[in-house]
Symmetry: C2
Subunit: 502 residues, 2 copies
């Protein structure tokens, strides 16, 4: 058995390493690659992905998994070996269901669609990309159909990003959240708006990058095993537990852009850096799901990075970095600015409270398209109608509407958005548990700019486990409760109640 | 035949692309990778190299090459198709001799050794890296032994870098050069030394990088298909004809470091960028040999970049970039400073005249280690003794001695150094031919800072051919003469005769 497990690990390490190499090619494409390199890069990335897929679906892996089943069943569910075999089986069974020709066709279609979208968005021309999106919908439905026996056609797609969750589960959570969120948004928007003008002064790029990097190092992001670069869209990428990198986008006239993307991406990166070293290159490395990943990024971005205790310590440092822009702005004004709630059109720029309404709109529209109750050609109208009804505003054009997000145009329709809101919910649930276990976390951050207690708790309870547990298993283990919107709503009501005097 | 050629190209494209991906991993390791990434990187690079090797040695390629032989023989030697098949056969026959396990082991060893060297050099601790170097020697000898029938054990290793040359050939060329060079060095060092103190003032890093980049763009280095980054040791790397990058090292107290490494690396990069587009991803892309590659880099670094006509145009611009350091330094003083001849310890910092003595020392030490007449543990002493006897100086420490160059610590022992001096010789031979064909080249550079005639000549005569011809074939085609040290010695005597009043 030991030999078989060793062979399984060796084979899976190759799959991991080919994917890691492909990710480095993508990281480079987004950070440093000269424009001339694009054609060769597309070819080279596709080659590595194809080789990884070939190796991941080698029948020898299936045989090893069969041979290892008795060993797996003899072990506790949460033992490393049993979990490694279980995860390897899940990955293998997902991978072999999809024919390689389909994978290649879908990737090629995604690459073409992405290219068209990069032109269609600035041109505000949904018609240009519509036929591609129709094919994306068709391919997404075909992909789901490789996993027969689903209750909802989006279920198999959600299993690829938030394994263990179904449409029915998510609808239940979202509807509970919506019920409490919509009245809160209404209460807030009835109050006089906060002033966030101090964020749109002139902030030179380099001090922005330096300040963000200083803070995320204080959080615990390890630069010996990571780094920060610039890219058009912020992202985190992992080549090894010991090489996890973040990127940020800098806008010299919007302080929030680089700052909060550094906080956000460092949350993803600390999660990946915190996985147990012995999981390196195995199916146990990585994050439990998109939702759990997002719980970590949103926790550092919002629950820490937009909190008053955090800024009590760091605001004087920020003022020192930008004396012209912020020298005479009081802490309270700054704190209100970064927490201003206002229904807006762009999800990634949205405040903490209205953010989830954006996600729910996307989620519902995805389901309707997959169910066949919404045609792609009717998507822009459906989008506007939902923004009008849910947020009280509607985009003037498709650029800031249905064309705003890359997801449908670079990946698929289905499973693309629910993780963001699941992340907000789980992040609050985790943070509440951390504060219950260690009430000193707040004072440490406020008085010392010290996050070690918080990070250690996250490491111990979440990060080190990697992919071992599903999102729900993790939530139950860590908090003793099932997934619940209550901590998140408690957090929002307390924070925004104070900010808006509700 | 067309189908077979197409299949051959498709298979070789995969080999190229796997190697290109491996090179990106190496480029990243040398520029941006955090230190923690080293272990995974070594593993991932080794995997890609192994897969490339597996694909390169697939018997199907051997079969295609056999099938294509009649077609190849029906074509002129210098036709693209015949040359592609010829080069593919050479590569295949070299590759199948080396077992894949060995390739993987050697690459992994190189990556580990490189990491140790990056610590050993600043710590001046040869002992730290000695066991690794001993293994490198052992592996280098094993590699040579996969090619039995050699006259000298270094011959198969030289065939990997300067195909078509043997130890005997190189010894003949080096001995002819040495015979003329040693008296010239003696004559020069008997004269009063030139003053190069102006190069060691304070030169802030960013303007150094900017100025170097401006010049190499004027040379013709295309930033749409390239870029400049910083690394501990300057190098050029190619992922595609359309993505060829250079790196430089900056020293704020030594102007020459970044400046001449930018010129040098741009010569390599323009060669790779100048290969015919239709050779992309085929065995015809790349340089004819290390020597020919070095002929291009040394041509731009020295024959152009340390010449008086060049600086007549660019020196005022350099003064404007560094007004404090150079504002009051006359052109003649600067020109003398960058051409000061002085026996020194570091090859890459050496002047044009003594440079080749460094190369010959390394070449001889390589041969002795491979022959078994010099043990690795005795290398530092042997190094010091040879520097004392050949250059009249010896390093105080190993940092500036045997640890100075990455080659033995990042690649192998054997075939690593001869190309530098072959390059000097060929560069002068090519440049003389270019000036004979286009005497206006000098005036264009001096009056307009315009290098288009020179670059076009190099593109047409050398670059576009890629690997089609061997070094000797190229020299004969381009200059009408065999490889000869005469143009190089004519150049050195004229230039240094004037500088030193010989």
């Amino acid at each position: 058995m030991e030999d078989k497990l060793k062979e399984l690990k060796a084979r899976l390490l190759e799959v991991h390493d080919l994917k890691a190499a492909a990710q480095l090619l993508t990281w480079d494409q987004n950070t440093y690659m000269p424009p001339g390199g694009a054609a060769a890069r597309a070819r080279q990335t596709a080659l590595l992905q194809r080789l990884a897929h070939e190796k991941a679906t080698d029948p020898a892996i299936g045989q090893l998994l069969d041979d290892l089943r008795p060993y797996e069943e003899s072990l506790p569910y949460d033992s490393d070996d049993a979990s490694l075999i279980r995860l390897a089986r899940r990955d293998y069974e997902q991978a072999i269901k999809v024919p390689p020709e389909f994978v290649a066709r879908f990737y090629a279609h995604q690459a073409r669609t992405y290219q068209v979208w990069t032109q269609a968005r600035p041109a505000d021309d949904f018609e240009m990309v519509r036929p591609y999106l129709e094919q994306t919908l068709d391919l997404s439905r075909q992909l789901a159909d490789f996993f027969p026996g689903y209750e909802h056609i989006a279920d198999p797609l959600i299993a690829l990003t938030d394994y263990g969750m179904t449409v029915a589960d998510i609808r239940a959570v979202f509807s509970a959240l919506r019920e409490e969120l919509v009245p809160l948004v209404r209460e807030i928007t009835a109050r006089p708006p906060l002033d966030d003008s101090c964020l749109y002064r002139y902030f030179p790029a380099q001090p922005q990058l330096d300040f963000g990097l200083e803070v995320v190092q204080r959080f615990g992001y390890d630069l010996n095993r990571g780094r920060q670069d610039r890219s058009p869209h912020p992202f985190t990428t992992e080549f090894s537990v010991n090489d996890v990198r973040i990127t940020v986008r800098v806008n010299e006239h919007d302080l929030g852009d680089a700052l909060f993307s550094a906080f956000h991406e460092s949350g993803h990166a600390m999660y990946e850096q915190g996985v147990a070293q012995e999981y390196e290159g195995t199916p146990l490395a990585g994050g439990a799901s998109v939702g759990v990943h997002e719980s970590q990024s949103r926790l550092w971005e919002n629950l820490v990075g937009r909190s008053l205790p955090f800024w009590r310590y760091f605001y004087p440092r920020l003022q020192a970095a930008f004396p012209d822009a912020l020298g005479s702005v009081p802490l309270d004004t700054f704190y209100q600015a970064i927490n201003k709630v206002r229904p807006s059109l762009i999800r990634t720029d949205a405040d903490e409270v209205t953010y989830n309404l954006h996600v729910m709109i996307r989620f519902d529209l995805e389901l309707q398209m997959l169910e066949g109750t919404l045609a792609v050609r009717d998507l822009p109208d459906a989008w506007r109608a939902r923004y009008e009804s849910d947020l009280g505003i509607a985009p003037q054009d498709d650029r800031d509407g249905v064309l705003q997000d890359v997801h449908w145009y670079g990946e698929m329709i289905g499973g693309m958005f629910q993780g963001y809101t699941l992340g907000n919910i789980m992040g609050a649930q985790f943070f509440e548990a951390a504060l219950q276990a260690h009430p000193e976390i707040t004072a440490e951050m406020e008085k010392e700019g010290d996050f070690r207690t918080l990070l250690s708790w996250l490491r111990e309870n979440i990060h080190r486990h990697g992919r071992k547990f599903t999102a729900q298993e993790l939530v139950e283990r860590v908090t003793g409760e099932p997934l619940s919107v209550a901590p998140y709503m408690r957090y929002l009501r307390r924070k925004y109640g104070e900010l808006y005097g509700l």
